[in-house]
Symmetry: C2
Subunit: 298 residues, 2 copies
Amino acid sequence: MAISCYCSLWTGSRRVITLWIAVRTGGRVAIQGIILDVDGTVILASKVLDGASETLDILRNRGYKLVFCTQQNQDSDRKLSDRLNAAGLQIYEQEIVSAGTVAVDYLAQNHRGSQVYVVGADSIRDRLSLAGLKVLADRNGETAEVVLVATDPDVNLTRLSVAAEAVRRGADFYVTSLDRGEPMADRIIPGPGSLALAIAYTAGRRPVVLGKPSPAMVAAVRDRLQLPSSSIAVVGDQPAQDVRLGRFLGATTVLVMSGVTTPEALERTSSSYRPDVILPGIKDVPAWLDLNKQKQPS
Amino acid sequence: MAISCYCSLWTGSRRVITLWIAVRTGGRVAIQGIILDVDGTVILASKVLDGASETLDILRNRGYKLVFCTQQNQDSDRKLSDRLNAAGLQIYEQEIVSAGTVAVDYLAQNHRGSQVYVVGADSIRDRLSLAGLKVLADRNGETAEVVLVATDPDVNLTRLSVAAEAVRRGADFYVTSLDRGEPMADRIIPGPGSLALAIAYTAGRRPVVLGKPSPAMVAAVRDRLQLPSSSIAVVGDQPAQDVRLGRFLGATTVLVMSGVTTPEALERTSSSYRPDVILPGIKDVPAWLDLNKQKQPS
């Protein structure tokens, strides 16, 4: 069975746009696990979004299993949890699935003992060393068997060149995510996707993505939740990452309009990234879950 | 009238491949001006290619007007000429049309007095200042009205971020060329195209190309030669740059196999970048011109 309704959103210029909300419930079991994106969904530019903290309490109290799925790759899940707690949001380390950790685990499993060259922060370099990979310095990085591109505050032409040369010579080529960049107070900082694209264009080869919505990330959240796809909802603000992750999982996809996606951008979004449900923000999730529950076949 | 013949080339692995040579001469006047690419055509990794020096003498002695058209943007045409002369190749400053000079001239003409932020070497920054543009430093580059991306030995995350932010805010966005990179002794160095792509992906907008095969470059070589298109030949090693430049000019296009294009890559090249003539190297150009002349309607 499918129900649908209309929802009105006000854009910045007060233009009212109407979005279609469809809830596919036919033959589905009730939602038991929720995968939540972090940036743009529960937090925005280091500030907790309206009602996010209370909503997480409500969801936990009602027995939903939560997983926070983020493209973050600089901090360990421990540090990330500490940072979110300091910002006023209770998120436990064990609830986090980050692109950085998925990348480290993936390389440890598939390239243990290999020589890896990293375009990224020192923290991810240290975690790869601990996970059993040999992390090469700039001076001999061209001979790497594996190249990993992540967020890199200290990127320069040498790093881009060494990575491109290693890739050109045949190294396995990975990127933590295809994120364009991170908006900061005064400017946007190029993300792993932008750096990987420069290297890919130089070397003439495309990278394998390990973050959302890759098979590696799908496997990681599936492992963590241990629930059938039909009882999972993915809540996030980016169609190309969150909705696609949900699609690959076979889960119900919920787009929140509290992050980077504008109503205009959503109208232009390819039909394969269109969410099942569109909500103004995280605080509207409990009411949607209630509605969804009522419509379940008893 | 059109004549065609077959030419055999030996690849590194000694596999013989046969390439089609077609010379379109129907209704054409004889070639009077030749546009020559530099890297991969007359010089390769700072070494003069076999027979290049003698060939330039022959062409000049026979009265052909020569223009050297390069994607180079770090040196002034003067410096470039000095560097080529030092390498053993007589090329005069007035014969050079470089992407760097075309970019400086274009911005001077279309954005004189504007604030420009440059991802590039100090030399191009200095030339833009001399041409009447206000070149911004990193600390206030986000407010630039124009962003120019070129070859940058000192690129870092700050420069990429500042450029991306200026572009995101609406600055006119240019790149000297879409070159992937420059192969050096031990590695490949990302070129303007690779850096511009990272910025474009971060900012969500594509740059306007000023080097080969852009309208600005077509206009620059047309101005320099002052000849009808039908009497111009373009000789270069890259289909996407040299052959396309020739196509946009309406000139005869000659691909030399002495540079980056492998016979295998040529087989995969889109039909719109296929050259009229394929020759092993620059030293075969005079014989082809002779053949071409004989076939002219008298």
